[in-house]
C-alpha cells in the first residue's frame, strides 16, 4: 500500500459515539453485567451466594440459628472481623499483606489500658492507641516501600515481636479488666429503637444523594446515564434489607422478661460509617485511584508520576490504624486486655477479605467485599458452634472455604487476562 492510500484512509471520519457502559435499558445493563461475570469479574457474588446457602443450611439444621438473639450476636461478632478485614483490604489491594495487624491491635489496646491506668481519660487513651497503630503502619510501610523487604517477612517479624511486647507490657499470662462503660457499650449495648430508623434514613439518604448527584453531574456534561430503574432497585434493596434487619433487631430479644434487649447494636453504625467513608476515599479521590493503580501496575503508576512509595506507606498506616479500631471492638466485647490478643484473628481477617472477593494479586476488590466475606466466616463459626461441632471442624470448614475463594480468585484473574487473546 502506498503512502497516498494511507493518508486517504486517515481522512477525518465523522465523529462516532464511543459507548461508556451507561447506555441501554435495564435489560442491556443486566446482560452487560452478565458478560462481566463471564469474564471473571465476579466481585462479591460467590460470597453472597455462600451467605444465602449458609443461612438456609444453618436455619434448617439448628432451630436456634434464626432467633433474634443469635442474629444480633452474629452481627456483633462479625463487626469485629469486618473492621479487621476492611483494614487489611488497603494493603491487599497493593498485593501486600500485613500479618501483624492483629497483634498490633493487641499491643495498642495494652497501651490503651496502661494509659488509662496511668490516669489519662479514656478518650485520650484511644488517641494514643490509634497513633501507635499509625506509627507501626508507617514503620512497616517504610520497610516495604523504601528498603524493599517483602511485606510477608517484615510483618511476620512484627507478628512475632509484638507477641513478645504484649507479654512485656502486661506480664506473663497478664489479663486485665477494662471497666469503662462507654467502651463496653460499643459491643454490648444497643441504640434506642428510633435510632435504628434514623440509621436507615441516613443510609438510604446518602445512597440516594450520591446516586442522584452522580447522575446530575453526568447529565451536565451531556453524558448518558444508566436507566434510573437501576438506582431505584439499588435504593429499594438497601431499604428492604436494611429496614428488615433493623426491624428484626428492634424486637425484644431478651430471655428475661424484666430486662428487655432491643435495638441495633451500637457497633453497627460505626462499622457502616467506616465502610461508607473508606469506600468514598477508594472510589472518589485521587488517593484511592492511585492505590488501585499501584496495586495493578506499580511501574505504570510510577511513570504516571504517582509517588508509589508514599502510597504504600499510607496503605500500611491505614491498615494498622483501622486494625486498632477492631482491637477496641474486641476489648469492648470481652471486657479485658490480654497478652495473647490478636494472634489468630488476623488470618481470619485475610480469609474474610479473600472470601469476599478481594484479590490477593492486588488492584481488585472493595471494602464491601471484605464485609460480606467477614459475614461468611462469622456465620460458619456461629452456625457450626450452634450445631455443637468442635472448633476443629470450624477451622477445617473455614480453611476449605478460603481455599475455594483463592481458587476462584486465581481462575478469574487468568480468565480476565486471557480475554486479550480471545478478542
Amino acid at each position: 500500500m502506498s503512502k497516498q492510500e494511507t493518508s486517504q484512509m486517515s481522512a477525518p471520519l465523522p465523529p462516532q459515539a464511543i459507548a461508556s457502559g451507561h447506555e441501554g435499558n435495564l435489560r442491556d445493563q443486566i446482560s452487560a453485567y452478565g458478560s462481566r461475570l463471564k469474564n471473571g469479574e465476579m466481585g462479591a457474588l460467590p460470597a453472597v451466594g455462600a451467605l444465602a446457602v449458609l443461612t438456609g443450611l444453618f436455619a434448617a439444621l439448628s432451630p436456634f440459628f434464626l432467633t433474634k438473639l443469635n442474629i444480633a450476636n452474629l452481627f456483633v461478632q462479625a463487626a469485629e472481623l469486618t473492621t479487621l478485614a476492611v483494614a487489611l483490604v488497603f494493603v491487599i489491594l497493593l498485593a501486600e499483606i500485613d500479618l501483624s495487624a492483629g497483634v498490633t491491635a493487641g499491643v495498642a489496646m495494652d497501651i490503651f489500658y496502661l494509659t488509662v491506668k496511668a490516669g489519662l481519660p479514656w478518650q485520650a487513651a484511644i488517641v494514643v492507641a490509634l497513633v501507635f497503630g499509625a506509627a507501626v503502619g508507617a514503620l512497616l510501610g517504610y520497610f516495604v516501600a523504601k528498603i524493599g523487604v517483602p511485606s510477608f517477612v517484615v510483618t511476620l517479624s512484627f507478628f512475632l515481636a509484638f507477641q513478645g511486647l504484649a507479654l512485656v507490657l502486661l506480664g506473663d499470662g497478664g489479663l486485665f479488666r477494662v471497666d469503662i462503660p462507654e467502651i463496653k457499650a460499643i459491643m454490648n449495648e444497643s441504640l434506642p429503637t428510633w435510632g435504628g430508623w434514623v440509621l436507615l434514613v441516613v443510609m438510604v439518604g446518602l445512597s440516594a444523594g450520591l446516586g442522584f448527584w452522580d447522575r446530575a453531574r453526568r447529565a451536565k456534561q451531556g453524558l448518558v446515564n444508566r436507566p434510573i430503574s437501576i438506582l431505584a432497585i439499588k435504593l429499594a434493596t438497601i431499604t428492604i434489607l436494611g429496614g428488615g434487619t433493623i426491624f428484626f433487631l428492634n424486637l425484644n430479644r431478651s430471655q428475661n422478661a424484666l430486662k428487655p434487649i432491643e435495638g441495633v447494636p451500637i457497633v453497627i453504625p460505626f462499622v457502616l460509617a467506616l465502610l461508607f467513608v473508606g469506600n468514598f476515599f477508594l472510589d472518589r479521590t485521587r488517593f484511592g485511584r492511585h492505590l488501585y493503580a499501584v496495586g495493578g501496575n506499580p511501574e505504570a503508576a510510577r511513570r504516571a508520576g504517582i509517588k508509589v512509595g508514599a502510597i504504600r506507606i499510607a496503605a500500611f498506616m491505614i491498615t494498622s490504624t483501622l486494625a486498632v479500631v477492631s482491637g477496641l471492638f474486641h476489648v469492648s466485647r470481652i471486657g479485658v486486655v490480654e497478652a495473647s490478643a490478636g494472634r489468630s484473628i488476623v488470618l481470619s481477617g485475610v480469609a474474610a477479605a479473600v472470601v469476599g472477593g478481594v484479590s490477593l494479586f492486588g488492584g481488585r476488590g472493595k471494602l464491601i467485599h471484605a464485609a460480606i466475606g467477614a459475614m461468611v466466616i462469622s456465620m460458619i463459626d456461629n452456625g457450626l458452634g450452634l450445631l455443637g461441632l468442635s472448633a476443629g471442624i470450624s477451622f477445617l470448614v473455614t480453611g476449605s472455604v478460603l481455599a475455594l475463594a483463592a481458587t476462584i480468585d486465581a481462575l478469574s484473574r487468568k480468565r480476565s487476562g486471557s480475554s486479550v487473546l480471545r478478542s
Partner: protein, 249 residues
C-alpha cells in the same frame, strides 16, 4: 521550511568508555511523522531517553520550539509537551480506559474525582483520532487487545496536549490488521499538528506512514531524508553501513 518542534544538535552520550551517541543531529516537525531507524544497538533508545528526561545527554544542544532547553527529568519533558509511549505501554489492567488516560493527572473538584469531565475528555480525545476499535471508554484495560492498548496509550498523549509524541516500536507485537489501525492512528495524530517520532525496525511500516526517515548507524546520524526522495534498498544500505548518504539536507 517551518521551524522544527524539536531540534537536536551534536548530541553525545557515553556509558563509561563506550560512546553510544557521537554527535547526533535530529529534527522533527509539527504535522510530520519522523522515523528513527537503525540496527540493534545503534543508539535509538538512548537518543529517546535523553528527550524524555530519564537519561540526560552528556553534550550537545536541544531546541524545543526554537528555545534551547535542558531536559533532565521526565516531569520537565511532559511539562514541555513531550510524551513517550514506551513499548511496554505501562497501563494498569485493573483500571478502565478513562482511568488510565488520566492516571496521575486526575481532574478533581472539591477533592473528589470529576469522573464525568474525565470521561467526556477521554471520549473526545479518542474521537479526535477517529478511533473506532474501542467499544466503551469504561472497559477495563485487561479486556483490550494489544492494538487497542496501543490506541489508549497514544490517545493519552493527545489528552495531554503533547506537541511531540515519541513511540518506541508501537507495532512490534501486533498482527497485520492491528498494525494497520495503529499506523493510521499515528498518521492522524500527526495530521492533527503533533510532531511524531516513531522508532521502528519495520521498513514497510516506515514507508507507509513516515514523512521523514532518520538513520542512526553506530551512534551517528548518517541520514535524515524525506521518505519520498528515497527507497527501501537505500535505507537498508544506510542502516547496515553498506551505503553512504550523499544528498543535501
Amino acid at each position: 521550511m517551518a521551524e522544527p518542534v524539536i531540534e537536536l544538535k551534536n548530541i553525545t552520550k557515553s556509558f563509561g568508555p563506550v560512546d553510544v551517541l557521537k554527535g547526533v543531529d535530529l529534527k522533527a516537525y509539527a504535522g510530520k511523522v519522523t522515523a528513527l531507524v537503525g540496527d540493534n544497538g545503534a543508539g535509538k533508545s538512548t537518543l529517546i531517553k535523553g528527550l524524555s528526561g530519564v537519561q540526560p545527554y552528556d553534550g550537545g544542544t536541544v531546541h524545543f520550539e526554537g528555545q534551547e532547553v535542558n531536559i533532565h527529568d521526565p516531569r520537565q519533558a511532559s511539562a514541555l509537551g513531550i510524551e513517550v509511549v514506551y513499548q511496554d505501554l505501562a497501563l494498569c489492567e485493573n483500571l478502565d480506559i478513562v482511568q488510565n488516560m488520566f492516571l496521575g493527572r486526575e481532574e478533581t473538584s472539591n477533592g473528589t474525582l470529576s469522573e464525568p469531565t474525565m470521561e467526556l475528555e477521554a471520549t473526545q480525545a479518542l474521537q479526535s483520532l477517529s478511533v473506532r476499535t474501542v467499544k466503551s471508554v469504561r472497559q477495563k484495560v485487561s479486556s483490550l487487545s494489544g492494538g487497542q492498548r496501543q490506541t489508549v496509550a497514544i490517545a493519552r498523549s493527545v489528552l495531554r496536549n503533547a506537541k511531540l509524541v515519541i513511540l518506541d516500536e508501537p507495532t512490534a507485537a501486533l498482527g497485520v490488521a492491528q498494525t494497520e489501525q495503529v499506523l493510521n492512528l499515528v498518521r492522524r495524530l500527526a495530521d492533527s499538528g503533533v510532531a511524531v517520532i516513531i522508532i521502528s525496525h519495520n521498513l514497510v511500516d516506515v514507508f507507509k506512514v513516515c514523512d521523514d526517515i532518520a538513520v542512526l548507524y553506530l551512534g551517528r546520524m548518517v541520514a535524515q531524508i524525506e521518505t519520498k526522495k528515497t527507497n527501501q534498498t537505500d535505507v537498508v544500505g544506510y542502516i547496515t553501513g553498506t551505503k553512504t548518504y550523499e544528498g543535501s539536507k
